[in-house]
Symmetry: C2
DNA sequence: GCAAGTATCTCGCTGAGCGAGGTAATAATC
DNA sequence: GATTATTACCTCGCTCAGCGAGATACTTGC
C-alpha cells in the first residue's frame, strides 16, 4: 500500500519521475492518484450508506447549489452529472425514496420541478466530508499564506483545464 | 458557470468562503470540484472511445503499474478499483476483447494471471492524458520552485488523507 | 386558440457489478 | 506422497443504474 515511496531526492535532481518524462509529470500522476483515492473513498462511503457513487455526487451538487443560493432542477442536475433525462429521473426517484431530497413544483413555471435537499442530506454530506475537511484544513494550516495562494491558483487552473475538451 | 467569483478580499479578511464556514473551506470545495471535473472528463473520453469509466480507470492503473515496473494481476487490479472477483473478470474480459490488454499465465505460480497492457492501451492513455498533461505542465511553469513544492506536498497530504477511513 | 418549444416523466432494454459457488494450482500437515 | 487448507481466478444467475425513444404537461409566440 505504501509502495509509492519515491526516491525523494536521492535520484537525479530535478527529475523526480521516470526517466524520459518531462519535469512536473510526477505532479500530474499525483493529481490523478488524488482523484482516484477520493473517488474510491466516495464509493466506499456511498456503499456503506446504501447509495451509489452517482447518488453521492448528486447530493454534493445539490448541497453546493443550495450553498450558492441557486435553484436546482432535474435538468440542471442531469447535465452536471452527465446523465440523460431518464437516468436523472431514476436518480431523483432514488434520492426521494430515501428521504434525502424533495420534489417541489415551481409555481412560476409549472413544467419545472425544484429539488430541495432535506436536512438528512446535509447531515449525510457532513458526515462524509467532515473528517476529510478537518484533515485538509489541518494540513492547510502547515502552509504559508503565499503557498496556500499558490495551491488555490493551481487547483483553479486544473479545474478549468479539465473542463475544456 | 463562473458563479464562483468569490469576494476575493472584499469581505471579512481571512474568511473567504460563505459566512460561518471555517477558513480554507473554499479550498476543499475547489478540490472537490477538480475531482468532479476530472471524473466527467474521463467519463466523456471513455464514452467517446467505446468504453466505461471503470475501464479507463483500470487502464490507468495498469499503465501506472507498468511504469513503476510492477506486475499486474486480476486480484490486485480488482482490489485497487474496489471490484469483487466477478466484476474484475468481466472488466478484464472487456479490455481483452478490445485488444487493449492480454492475459498471460505466470510460469512460476500457475494459478496467477499476469496482465499486459498492449501498445494500443498506451496510445489511448496518452491521447486522453496528453492534452491535460500539457496544460498542467504549462500551468506549473508559472509557479516558483518553492510554490511547486508546496503544491506537491499538499496533494500528497490529501492523497493520504483520502486513503484513510 | 394553435403550433412550436421546453421540462420532466414513462417504458423497455442493455450490460456493469454483485453474491455464491466452482476449478486449478500451490502450501501445509501428517 | 496422500490429505487438507489456502490462494487465484473464473462461471452462473441476478439486480438495478443508465440509455434511447417517446409520452405528457406546461409555457410562449403568432
Amino acid at each position: 500500500m505504501a509502495k509509492r515511496q519515491e526516491p525523494g531526492g536521492a535520484g537525479a535532481p530535478g527529475e523526480a519521475g521516470s526517466p524520459g518524462e518531462p519535469a512536473g509529470m510526477d505532479l500530474v500522476h499525483l493529481l490523478r492518484e488524488v482523484t482516484l483515492r477520493l473517488d474510491l473513498a466516495g464509493a466506499r462511503f456511498a456503499g456503506r450508506n446504501g447509495l451509489h457513487p452517482t447518488d453521492l455526487r448528486a447530493l454534493i451538487c445539490l448541497l453546493d447549489a443550495a450553498r450558492a443560493g441557486t435553484e436546482s432542477t432535474p435538468g440542471r442536475l442531469g447535465e452536471r452529472l452527465g446523465l440523460n433525462s431518464a437516468g436523472t429521473t431514476a436518480l431523483i426517484d432514488r434520492l426521494e425514496r430515501l428521504g434525502l431530497i424533495r420534489r417541489v413544483r415551481d409555481t412560476r413555471d409549472r413544467r419545472r420541478v425544484l429539488l430541495e435537499a432535506d436536512e438528512r442530506a446535509v447531515a449525510l454530506g457532513r458526515s462524509f466530508f467532515g473528517p476529510l475537511i478537518d484533515r485538509t484544513i489541518d494540513l492547510l494550516a502547515t502552509f504559508e499564506p503565499g503557498e496556500q495562494a499558490a495551491i488555490r491558483r493551481f487547483l483553479s487552473g486544473v479545474r478549468d483545464a479539465a473542463g475544456e475538451d
